[in-house]
């Protein structure tokens, strides 16, 4: 484990009262390796290890734990601090309906998350409607309809409108007249480098004025998480992130990368394929997982 490796670094340097510069430097090599193996973006690893270095060097070695454990604690606590937030609540305004927009790359779990969120909000006594603005993926609208029907959420199905922006505006009308207080908009997966499709998202945002734009990301995403999130955030100014497929065994370093590059909180995690497999994000658990 990382703690064992670090204990090894420090056991040859016994008898020192403080975490000295050289031992910390060596320890950071192992920490860097662990974070990169965990898929934290290498630029963020650089910043983070430097951050940890300034926090660790000169610190008094505590009585109750090994120096290795102490460094791991510094790293762990810093990870929690960086990823934690009190603002992991959804911003649901007193608008009827309050629109929530889900965006992200292909296959990350937006449609499933849309239904999960609807179900979660229903449990919090909100009348939730769903709409799919995905006119591209085969059977995308059918997929959301099946999920929506399962949980008894209103699902707006366009008759034959093919323009995603018009579909979303019509869905707002549908939600308003149906007395829904929330409308969750599932958008088509897209590449951040597809200018036309990124413009489409801007248009939907302008038409609907979402209370909340959530960037949905696969927790097994590698180094590219930074590039993608930066792009989506610059285009839309997202409000938060949903990290999916956390029930897998990916270390989830993307969580740190996403938080650092967007400055926005991870609000939820997807923990399975079932409709109730969504939880609030807990930074401590993610920090332990990233450190392996």
């Amino acid at each position: 484990s990382l703690t064992d490796k670090l204990d090894n670094v420090f056991k040859t340097l016994k008898g020192r009262g403080i975490l000295d510069e050289e031992s910390v430097r060596i320890a950071l090599k192992d920490i860097r390796l662990a974070l990169l193996e965990a898929d934290v973006n290498f630029k963020i690893v650089k910043e983070f290890t430097e951050d940890v270095r300034t926090r660790a060097v000169g610190k008094e070695v505590l009585e109750s734990i090994t120096p290795g454990q102490q460094i791991v604690k510094i790293v762990h606590d810093r990870l929690v601090e960086l990823m934690g937030t009190e603002e992991s609540q959804l911003k649901l305004e007193n608008r009827f309906p309050s629109p929530i927009m889900l965006v992200g790359l292909q296959g990350c779990g937006k449609t499933t998350t849309a239904a999960k969120l609807a179900h979660l909000l229903q449990k919090r006594q909100r009348r939730t409607a769903l709409v799919s603005a995905d006119v591209y993926r085969p059977a995308a609208m059918e997929q959301l309809r099946v999920l929506g029907d399962k949980i008894g959420a209103g699902v707006y199905v366009p008759s034959d409108e093919k323009d995603p922006v018009k579909i979303c505006s019509s869905a707002m009308e549908y939600a308003k007249s149906g007395g829904y207080d929330t409308l969750i908009i599932d958008t088509a997966g897209r590449l951040h480098i597809d200018k036309e499709l990124m413009d489409e998202l801007k248009k939907i945002k302008r038409a609907v004025n979402p209370s909340e734009i959530l960037f949905v990301a696969d927790s097994m995403t590698g180094q590219d998480a930074v590039t993608v999130a930066e792009s989506f955030n610059q285009t839309l100014s997202i409000d938060g992130v949903v990290l999916t497929k956390v029930d897998g065994d990916a270390r989830g370093g993307a969580a740190l990368s996403l938080r650092k590059v967007t400055g926005k909180p991870i609000k939820f995690i997807g923990t399975g394929e079932k409709i109730d497999a969504i939880e609030a994000f807990h930074p401590e658990r993610m920090a332990s997982r990233i450190l392996g």
Partner: protein, 278 residues
């Protein structure tokens, strides 16, 4: 004199960054760089261009071993089982594969063995219409092995050249779901000796180090005979496949470069490495 030494150290850092950014992973990147330094020493090369060329050539050589296209047998049914974690692009790849095999004048049949996910069958049905590929399906919730059983019967009756089985996405960590795959494989082998002839693992290029776990675990549990790497039209480089190729020598059959029917290309190691360094 020391000027040249400093340049070499920068090239090592530059190359390390490129490889890590491409998801090759830190320890594999370290190994590749050590290997490159070793080769450079033997050839007494120090300039950045030669060092980079050594790296590119080495990575290409590793991938060359995985350049192995599917060769359809004549006069036999060739069965392909498509597996992988959720959302990697299995169903879309199957649509593209049908078009690809049809161009070789092979007849194709689909088995809709994802009986779990909402609208999975409908999704494959649309690809079936697009490619004029007949589809064997049952109701959502049916036993996937029953669908597969039917599809082998149908393939034999129609003298199909290629039967492609779509399975539900699943995490390799879920034992019951891996058992379901094993059962599908058993049923196929029982109905048609030698089936499945190809077990194709679909990996997403945006996935980081976990792709190695996926390949190892799917291989350990059910065996994989080929890989498809999708979503290379994005900015992720999919470098983890270099490590998979080095350690597992699994053939990389195709890459996915988009969502349309012809966005499938046979894997080429040199092109892949050039794109990685682009």
């Amino acid at each position: 004199i020391s000027g040249e030494k400093v340049v070499s150290r920068d090239i090592f850092e530059d190359l390390e960054e490129i490889l890590i950014a491409a998801d090759l992973g830190p320890s594999f990147t370290f190994d590749l760089i050590e290997d490159m330094k070793e080769r450079a020493k033997r050839k007494e090369l120090q300039n950045p261009e030669s060092l980079k060329k050594i790296m590119v050539d080495n990575m290409t050589a590793i991938l060359k071993q995985s350049e192995s296209p599917i060769v359809l047998p004549s006069n036999k049914i060739f069965t392909i089982m498509v597996i992988g974690v959720n959302g990697t692009g299995k169903t879309t790849t199957i649509g593209k594969l049908a078009a690809f095999f049809k161009q070789q004048n092979a007849s194709v049949l689909f088995a809709a063995a994802d009986t779990f996910r909402a609208a999975a069958i409908e999704q494959l049905e649309i690809w079936s219409k697009r490619t004029e590929t007949p589809l064997i399906k049952q109701a959502m919730g049916a036993d996937p092995s029953a669908v597969v059983y039917d599809s082998i019967k149908a393939a034999k009756a129609r003298n199909t050249d290629v039967l492609i089985v779509d399975t539900a996405g699943r995490l390799h960590t879920k034992t019951n779901l891996m058992d379901e795959l094993k059962k599908i494989k058993r049923v196929m082998g029982k109905e048609l000796p030698g089936a499945p002839h190809e077990i194709l693992l679909v990996l997403d290029a945006t996935t980081g180090q976990n792709a190695l776990m996926q390949a190892q675990m799917f291989n350990a549990e059910i065996g994989i005979s080929g890989l498809v790497l999708t979503k290379l039209d994005g900015t992720a480089k999919g470098g983890i496949v270099v490590r998979i190729a080095k350690e597992m020598k699994t053939p990389i059959r195709f890459i996915g470069v988009g969502e349309k029917i012809d966005d499938l290309r046979p894997f080429n190691g040199r092109e892949f490495v050039e794109a990685l360094f682009a």
